[in-house]
């Protein structure tokens, strides 16, 4: 359940909320539709679950729709995801046909709402072909890409580009992800909701219960990686790092992953991770349901260090969550992790399991560094990666796209 603006003002300050209200006044009553591929699981669904109520509280008329597909559709979109992040995998024509048919069918279901909307935000490739099926659209259509597209597999990007280039604008998490398109490419890093189940303060009692539930020893250090069981998150690399480091400093590694309804590869990768862990009692592999937000929150709070050993990453909201809980993060030097983990300040950036092992050993030896980095980490997120900044940028883009793309827009 998202908080209200008044609750957020206690965290970010009243002036920040006043600023949002002023900006939103210029968009009062605007009909806004967001479309993505899942209501639960993954960062996009989390963002939308707070973004929609807050836009409504600010006087906009916002709603959230989800594209529904069958197995071949999700196979296709998972392949898009992998290819866009650099895997060279051609996608068979029958899957592409399924993708286009699913988009057309869903767009027809939602057509009147989409065509009447003042703003339509389409998230990621799954519903990207909607635009083609809405020729009577009246508002501005914006494609929001949450994925690392810095080195896409070109044939797949070329296929997707035919859909996204006709949007009025696109939004990317980082400049290095933005592909050249003929419309403005806005840069907006995502954010977290400090009042969501995943980030809200928890009692010690609740933390103790989670330790007991998963049979975790509270007296030995804990390193936690939270992410889907996805090869780009390198859970096997995290296990390798654990093995390299724990002979020097005993600790427990928790790999906690939620599933998402749009990820058909999750089970396979989960098995690979279990095989790599080889029943090591110090490696806890937890497959959590997609709505286990409080448990994820608790696991991050009981951690001494947060690990995010990704080899590709869109932004890495689990990194933001870890930083917000006052923990240093050891993260793969990739994508949005580079924006959040400031070497030696909020954590360490690493390239290899060896690098991760080295930094785990270093931090577990220097508790004062864990505390110092943790304090800086929390403030860094407060300043830069909370939803109020994100919301402001969405409102700014909406104001900008309706007033063409000139450098200076004065709203009277």
């Amino acid at each position: 359940m998202a908080g209200t603006l008044a609750q957020y003002s206690e965290i970010v300050g009243e002036e920040v909320i006043d600023h949002l209200k002023q900006l939103a006044k210029t968009l009062s009553g605007a009909r806004v539709v967001h479309v993505n591929s899942t209501r639960q699981g993954g960062g996009v669904a989390e963002i939308l679950s707070w973004l929609i109520p807050l836009k409504n509280e600010l006087g906009l008329n916002a709603s959230w729709e989800v594209i529904e597909g069958d197995e071949s559709f999700y196979q296709c979109t998972k392949s898009f995801h992998n290819a866009i992040q650099g895997n060279h995998i051609p996608i068979p024509q029958h899957l592409l046909n399924s993708y286009e048919e699913t988009n057309q069918r869903n767009a027809e279901r939602l057509r009147s709402k989409l065509e009447e909307a003042d703003f339509v935000f389409i998230h990621d490739p799954q519903p990207a072909a909607f635009l083609k099926s809405c020729p009577g659209r009246k508002g501005k259509w914006i494609w929001r890409c949450h994925i690392d597209v810095s080195h896409p597999y070109r044939p797949v990007w070329k296929y997707l580009r035919q859909f996204v280039e006709y949007y009025d604008a696109s939004i990317w998490s980082l400049a290095e992800f933005a592909q050249p398109l003929s419309h403005p490419a806005y840069l907006v890093p995502p954010s977290i909701d400090p009042l969501s189940e995943k980030n809200i303060e928890l009692s010690n009692l609740e933390l103790r219960k989670v330790l007991e539930e998963f049979d975790i020893d509270p007296d030995r250090p804990i390193v936690v990686q939270v992410s889907r069981f996805d090869r780009f998150k390198d859970p096997v690399g995290a296990i390798q790092a654990c093995r390299l480091a724990k002979s020097y400093t005993p600790f427990q590694l928790i790999l906690a992953g939620g599933g998402a309804t749009d990820d058909p590869e999750g089970d396979m990768v989960f098995q690979e991770v279990k095989n790599a862990a080889d029943n090591d009692p110090d490696i806890h592999i937890l497959l959590l349901p997609p709505d286990a937000h409080r448990k994820v929150n608790a696991l991050q709070r009981i951690a001494d260090i947060i690990l995010q050993k990704s080899v590709r990453e869109g932004f890495g909201l689990t990194v933001t969550e870890g930083l917000w809980k006052g923990k240093p993060v050891i993260g793969g030097e990739t994508g949005g992790i580079k924006l959040q983990v400031v070497n030696h300040y909020t954590g360490f950036l690493v390239k290899t399991p060896e690098g991760a092992a080295l930094r785990i050993r270093y931090l577990l030896k220097h508790q004062n560094k864990i505390d110092e980095m943790g304090r800086k980490a929390k403030e860094f997120v407060r300043e830069n990666f909370l939803l109020t900044r994100h919301l402001r940028e969405y409102l700014t883009i909406m104001a900008a796209v309706v007033h063409n793309s000139s450098e200076r827009i004065e709203i009277r």
């Binding site: 920040v16 600023h19 900006l23 840069l187 580079k338 990666f385 402001r392 700014t396 900008a400 793309s405």
Partner: protein, 218 residues
């Protein structure tokens, strides 16, 4: 008496241009033609976007020279460029190019950055909106400044220099409309160096200038 001071607010949004540089020569080539908004953003945008503590180098070109190219000499020379001293973006562009050309001439090899550390040219759009707050007398601003959003501070103190004929901040421009009454306050405001402050610090400094002025009776 001048017109009441109209308090405005703004939000800056970044736009990727797709232009990128992997070495110093590419940076120079793009700099010669890139949108003036890019130069503005890479000097001033840091005030309104994520960054950690006090950055070692105040503008993005200097920061890249150090973090991307590992060329500390170039980083230092670029970092010392103070955009406040230049009357417009084009003269600032010329100065950056001058520094880079000099470094290219000195270097036996063109410094380059590895993949993942390219320089990405970014420009920005600024959306300005009216808060409907109007100030009749300068003394009224003192109470208001404390609660003024950082967007308003950016708009009236930083962005104003690009807009106003006198290349001054909006507060000074308005105060000058009262004749010689506030000349000392205008002087104090012009002595504030906005380049090495965060917007929150800048807000405090402006507020302090107003408070000192009223405390000393002008």
């Amino acid at each position: 008496m001048p017109e009441p001071f109209a308090v405005k607010d703004c939000a800056l949004i970044a736009i990727g241009t797709g232009e990128r540089a992997q070495n110093l020569r590419e940076l120079r080539d793009h700099l010669m033609t890139t949108h003036p908004g890019c130069i503005y953003y890479h000097f001033w945008g840091g005030l309104l976007r994520p960054r950690f503590d006090d950055p070692e180098y105040q503008n993005d070109f200097a920061a890249w020279a150090w973090r991307g190219l590992h060329d500390i000499r170039l980083a230092e020379r670029l970092a010392i460029i103070d955009p406040v001293e230049f009357p417009d973006i084009e003269s600032l562009r010329k100065e950056i190019l001058e520094v880079i050309e000099e470094r290219l001439e000195e270097s036996e090899m063109v410094p380059w950055a590895r993949q993942g550390y390219l320089f990405h040219f970014i420009r920005s759009q600024i959306v300005v909106f009216d808060t409907d707050v109007r100030i009749e007398r300068p003394e009224q601003l003192i109470g208001l400044l404390r609660r003024m959003s950082l967007g308003s501070i950016f708009y009236h103190y930083i962005d104003a220099r690009r807009r106003s004929a006198g290349k001054r901040d909006d507060f000074s421009e308005w105060l000058m409309g009262f004749g010689g009454e506030y000349v000392k306050l205008v002087q104090c405001l012009s002595n504030i160096d906005p380049y090495f402050s965060t917007l929150a610090e800048l807000r405090q400094e402006i507020q302090r200038a107003f408070l000192n002025f009223t405390a000393t009776g002008g």
